[in-house]
Symmetry: C2
Subunit: 390 residues, 2 copies
Amino acid sequence: MSKEQLIPAEETAQQELTAPGDFRVCATEGGARLGMLHTAHGTVHTPMFMPVGTVGSVKSVDPRDLTEVGAQVILGNTYHLYLRPGDEVVARRGGLHKFNGWDGPILTDSGGFQVFSLAGLRNITDDGVEFRSHLNGSKHFFSPEKSIEIQQNLGSDIMMVFDECAAAGSDRDYTIQALERTTAWAKRCREFHPAGKNGQLLFGICQGGFYEDLRERSIEEITAIPFEGYALGGLSVGETKPEMLRILRHSAPLLPADKPRYLMGVGTPLDILDGIEAGIDMFDCVLPTRNARNGTLYTSQGKVNIKRAEFMEDDSPLDPNCDCYTCRTFSKAYLRHLYIAKELLSSRLNTIHNLAYFLRLAKDARDALRRGGFAEFKKSVEAIYGVNGE
Amino acid sequence: MSKEQLIPAEETAQQELTAPGDFRVCATEGGARLGMLHTAHGTVHTPMFMPVGTVGSVKSVDPRDLTEVGAQVILGNTYHLYLRPGDEVVARRGGLHKFNGWDGPILTDSGGFQVFSLAGLRNITDDGVEFRSHLNGSKHFFSPEKSIEIQQNLGSDIMMVFDECAAAGSDRDYTIQALERTTAWAKRCREFHPAGKNGQLLFGICQGGFYEDLRERSIEEITAIPFEGYALGGLSVGETKPEMLRILRHSAPLLPADKPRYLMGVGTPLDILDGIEAGIDMFDCVLPTRNARNGTLYTSQGKVNIKRAEFMEDDSPLDPNCDCYTCRTFSKAYLRHLYIAKELLSSRLNTIHNLAYFLRLAKDARDALRRGGFAEFKKSVEAIYGVNGE
């Protein structure tokens, strides 16, 4: 990836952002923001896409690959790492950075989403959630304090509060209950982890389902607690794209302007651009990595299903506008062959490309914001992927 | 991998080896030989270990990784590539090198071994072998000419004659029949591919099972045909180590001294050193790559089963004497975690290390031959792996 060509406001910010959590918006275009965030493992440029490394590795790629494709922050999943190898094991290794060899910033989720979507036999009380491991059925209990303790053990740069993420289609009563619990738990997380501790940032999460008034209430309650950043949770949980857009466009502008804003678990290239347009700074999603393993590849010319017979003798690179190792070195014909032959290298080369695409999309968005051309850039991607495209 | 420090005889050879097939023995110690072989894709140092890239990719690693661990030549499997994607498809891509991005030398086997061990419903005649694809049951026919035609299409630097590899435990009558067919087929291969054609070398394969007299007969017949190199086939097919050693030590010295000698499909680190001692120059085996995926790792301190619980909190590198990316970057604790969590990165990092071990073993053997210390070096490895160790 080519280096960022910073504008003067960013160069100034680079000097002035010194404490973890320092954040500066350096340019705007409509609601969209170009920014910088300082963490204990360096300063990152927003808007940004963060690859997901569920159990401590972004599937099939290594830290060198991640650096080469331009990753700034990677995610680790608290639920998964708690179960295996165990957060205390990771702590005794010196934290997740030392364990997995990634020395850039790491963001950990709270484990909440997995507890509510993956684990079995949940028992939710105001105190926390009892659940069974999806690995071996063993019984565990997450409280807000426990989630933070695990994330402290992991040593992530950005921690997320333990929240209750209501499923799409949850009724109003349940959504309110989850919202209230999320606020109560957020307070406990902040009390358990005061600002500045260990250089680890803590972000709040706003819920409220698909009800505008509940979103407003949650944002009001959560932003009343002083976090280093604020996230929109409970989107991309099975709703339609118009529903997601309705809440995104309603809620993102209500988040504090002087803190980083994170849209959790989103999304497709256009979802990301819609998010940036609405004022979001940070995104994560398994889409590029998971789809890479399924042979679905994102390119400057649209989505490519690499297993299609038409590519058997196609000597052109996957994406002529991509400078990733995969596109520099191999043809569509070879990538198709590796996929059809179920070679392990298929997942790796596809993942390198898809990550390069998502990370360049975010970088291109930053470059567009630098020159005031974001709206035009977004249109150019919509022209390829379709306004409601994936 | 550090660069080879050549002795004067090698520096001279480097100037004088200009035509594909040019081979020079630059030093000897007992029967062991230090040599150089020129191919259409560059000059390689022997003795050497060649990683196996069955369907056109060394499983889980890419060409950059192979260069970094010091690979000189990689293998491709004729049977597999013929079935998928098809040798004519590869030919239209400009050959296997252009297809898979490896621009060093490639050796292809003849497909014989897979036809006899993997394919179904064989019908063997003097003309060739009819078999069914292990992928979809479709019917195919390999003759000696067909095998060479496929290898010509693949564009490998070193091709192997189509032979009949008798299974371990074959009786004398069957072994003789296979030997005679192998000789007849070798002649047809040479006639079909005259020396020097397209810069592609052709190696003969000597059979004869576990009968010394039949080995002698096969070597006599095969070396009467002018090939650019000679291989011992039919070893490492299920026999005991002493049986393998008996035939190896009997037959290797009978191969022409002025041509490269190749022990096919062998083997463990000690098998390779036994082979070098007996005068072999080239080795290939799936052991490092397959065992990597199974969590069995070769180190300067012996074999390591990375899944063992004792490594859960082991912060030391897999092999303190290894300079590969895996050992430079990660701990045993992390490698164990990746293996237990079935992460794709596990196969990749383990493969990088195992290949680095096998390739460094061969390089260390070359360095030892340069200083006349091969016997001592072999003893040092035996001290770790045991004389009959794996």
